[in-house]
């Protein structure tokens, strides 16, 4: 009997569960900023920008689900309803990226600046050593490697595989969720998060060298290689395209920036919503207070659904589709309304608060 190993692996396992819970929180924390910008776009305008932000938001949900599946596999219990799960914006992302703050903003250049920071690859961060989402997942992979040395693939058989989210709930153009059974499938799940966000990992890639057609360069999302889906750029570069109003084309590098055809971006066809709204902005007994409350009730129901879906009832995700529609309609309803007597003429926006059942 060897007393050292079990203790070490218990500690490591505890650490890994904490890290993966943090990953779930990290992925989730990108959604209110992305969805706020998405819903602020007047319907029918900015079609390309709408499709990009929507696609990236769905991929963030994919990432959250991947992280949750790894956590479930190693016997953890993802939590989406505890106090603090939803951050108060502006906020540093939960992975320790202290060099920028995520914010709730209308679709605008300043919003896109923040979105680029959220998705920025390690090669491009302002200060060497600034942590990125990719670095954060690198740490998780290190912990996994240490544990696999101790336990092998048994690590991924602690939780009930029936509790994981199956591909039938998440498939299609934004990735395919696969259940985690062993180290390979766990690494696949985590690597696809990095690839979609920052670019396909390619250690041989030199960012200053131009690339020929059809060759992996690090700026693709990896969707073609990982899921046999249409090639698209990683999140950072798709936001950068919107920010610069121009497409990347073959031959471009992160240094050159995009030099392809221009993109029609219309920042005027956007509701001028309040930045980082908080509940006290809407006085009690006013209609906006009621709208925000209604939004938060739906939002809370969504988080409750996720909590159940990640803890043994994945079929709950079916009705979550409907809840997402309700959430969108309510957000758009608020954003159409100008805040009474606001000197800057700003419009309302939802506050993304989790309400305990007794407060709904």
């Amino acid at each position: 009997m060897c007393p050292v190993e079990p203790i070490a692996s218990e500690d490591l396992l505890h650490r890994l569960r904490q890290q993966l819970q943090r990953a779930v929180e990290l992925e989730f924390s990108t959604l209110p900023p992305y969805l706020t910008a998405l819903y602020s776009i007047k319907e029918g305008s900015n079609q390309y920008a709408t499709s990009v932000i929507r696609s990236i938001a769905i991929e963030e949900m994919f990432h959250m689900t991947n992280a949750a599946n790894v956590l479930i596999a190693i016997g953890g219990k993802p939590s989406t309803t505890h106090k603090g799960f939803v951050p108060r914006y502006p906020v540093n992302l939960p992975d320790g990226e202290v060099w920028f703050k995520a914010e709730l903003r209308p679709f605008s250049r300043s919003a896109l600046e923040v979105f680029r920071e959220i998705e920025m690859p390690a090669e491009l961060v302002p200060e060497k050593g600034d942590i990125t989402i990719g670095d954060f997942y690198g740490q998780i992979e290190n912990t996994i490697n240490s544990l696999v040395e101790l336990m092998g693939d048994d690590l991924f058989q602690i939780g009930d595989p029936e509790h994981q989210v199956d591909s039938k709930y998440f498939y299609g153009a934004e990735g395919v969720v696969e259940k985690v059974r062993d180290k390979d499938s766990a690494m696949f799940a985590l690597n696809s998060i990095i690839a979609q966000g920052e670019g396909a990992p390619n250690s041989a890639w030199n960012p200053s060298i131009h690339f020929p057609d059809n060759e992996a360069t690090g700026i693709e999302s990896g969707d073609a290689q990982l899921f046999q889906q249409a090639e698209e750029l990683a999140h950072y570069y798709r936001f950068d395209e919107l920010y610069r109003g121009r497409h990347y084309q073959h031959g471009d590098t992160p240094q050159s920036g995009p030099t392809g055809p221009s993109i029609d971006v219309d920042y005027h066809n956007v509701y001028p919503i309040i930045v980082n709204p908080c509940p006290k902005q809407y006085p009690k007994a006013t209609p906006l207070y009621g709208f925000d409350h209604d939004f938060n009730v739906i939002f809370s129901q969504l988080l409750d659904t996720l909590q159940l879906a990640f803890n043994g009832e994945p079929q709950r995700l079916v009705t979550a589709v409907d809840t997402m529609f309700s959430l969108k309609y309510k957000a758009q309803q608020m954003m159409r309304i100008a805040i009474p007597n606001d000197s800057q003429g700003r419009h309302a926006a939802p506050t993304w608060q989790y309400l305990k059942p007794e407060h709904r």
Partner: protein, 609 residues
Amino acid sequence: MHESEHFDVVIVGAGISGAIVAEQLGAAGKKVLVLEAGTGTQDRYFNEGDKAGYHAYLERYYRSYVKIPNAPYPNNPNAPQPLVTDIEKIPAGQVIANHGYFVQTGPNPFSSTYTRSEGGTTLHWLGTCLRMLPEDFHIREKFGRGLDWPISYEDLQPWYEKAEHGIGVSGDAGLQSYDAIDNHSVHIPFSKDYNYPMEQIPQSYLDVHMAKHLRDVDVSIENQQYPVQVIATPQARNGMPRGNYRPVGAVGYPGIGQRCAGNSSCVPICPIQAKYNALKTLHQAQALGNVSVRLQSVVYDLEVNPDNGRISRVLYKQYESTESAQVEKKAVSADIVVLAAHAAENAKILLAANVANSSDQVGRNLMDHPVLLTWGLMPEAIGAFRGPGSTSGIPSLRGGAFRSQQAAFRIEIGNWGWSWPKDAPVSTLEQYVDANSFSGKAYKEHVAEMYPRMFRLGFLVEQLPSANNRVSISEDYKDRIGNYRPVISYHIDDYTKAGMKQAKAVSDTIFNHLNVSDYTQYSESAPGYVEYEGHGYEYQGAGHLVGTHIMGDDPKHSVVNREQRSWDHPNLYLVGCGNMPTISTSNPTLTMAALCYWAADNILQDLAA
């Protein structure tokens, strides 16, 4: 004369039939040209400059006040299409020629329409994908009615499977075999271990409510008891995939439409293309590089080589703009020519070219499902106006011994309240504010009280083939660019009317069991009003145009053989619902798709020979 362009295969029509045949042949390496009479969106979801994408259809739909099935799809005088708003009563002995595309000679109006644009009528279909019953292929032999097919259910079964995977159908084979229904006539054998590529679309709250309350309900028809049983309907609508199947999203925007999101506008348009349309198959066909689609090219004639009876050239008129009647006449040739232009349009082309008609059956045996609607208010809210247009039906009366005396029918359970019979909710304002002077709070309360309880059934009644129900052409009736308009003669016979009478009786039984207050009213002034045994009924068109160039065993009485090849011309294939000798009770698209996969296989064998 200069040489015409030559292809392995020329297909006339870029709807579902043409798309399937093109995709299958293109995948086998054949060079294929598809000629489409209407305009199209090619692979665009969004508009690109002045080139319309699918989004232009959506914009048109949102803007249109009357949201009829063709509302999103522009009317094009160079390839006109029928509209449900064209339909009117036909006074005895008269011809209606000045109201829409069809010329109608009656006695009953033909109420169904189709879409002449790239993608065809699948742009606005509901997506129902039912298989036919085994007995449907032999109703002459079994019941002394209609015609027998030259093929059996067993012959078509593998092609049904191919079609269900090709177009993407959601359903549960265990349920769709109808084994659970206590009526052996409707049982449909499925291959062991076979299942649809996607899981069943969730049933609506209404479906579940009805299933629960009708569990023990029987009706008596011709002295036999039949169950009234609710079963989920298989649909070409994306749901959760089984195994490695991957749902196909919107063409030009594949990230959306991966699953049905309940937009509740399937007819006339699914905004995210979660519902199948033929643009998807056309996209797949063209992606392989062997298939090209030529839009705005209206085929008007076929040339026959008198030495061997082969179709030597396909003649078409190409137009630059729908704003102008200016056309350029062109011709192409092919080893094999496939007409996939739609039952009515195929008949028109064949009659205009005077080909394939040694049987004198071209254009004849036109059928549809006359739909009897019944509607009422549920005692409590049942969530009307949500989800796909229909997610379940009552298939237990699709077959039985009674078919020797009266038409069978399938009952469709509508999820959208009174949208079909009463045009709700579009008509709401007109009806309650203008006509009944409701306003303010009273109006809101009235709507909130009524609308969630709205309920309607649709009875798709079988119609038999008849030589007098037909599409013909006349020099007197042509469209703007000189092509024939369909002249339609149509009547509802007593066999179908007896089915309507039975349908209303079944409806009464169902309404009784569900405590529904019946609001059904059939108006003598309505175009589809018919009387039978002293009672009035009213039918609507189902959009299921079937049987204008039927298949058979005998060249004297049919237009194509079981391979779907013209009896008269060895290199001419006809595909589409026109090949179906009887319509029975299933929406015909899935059967047509299955036949198309089979036809493509036959064409490949011909090309190899």
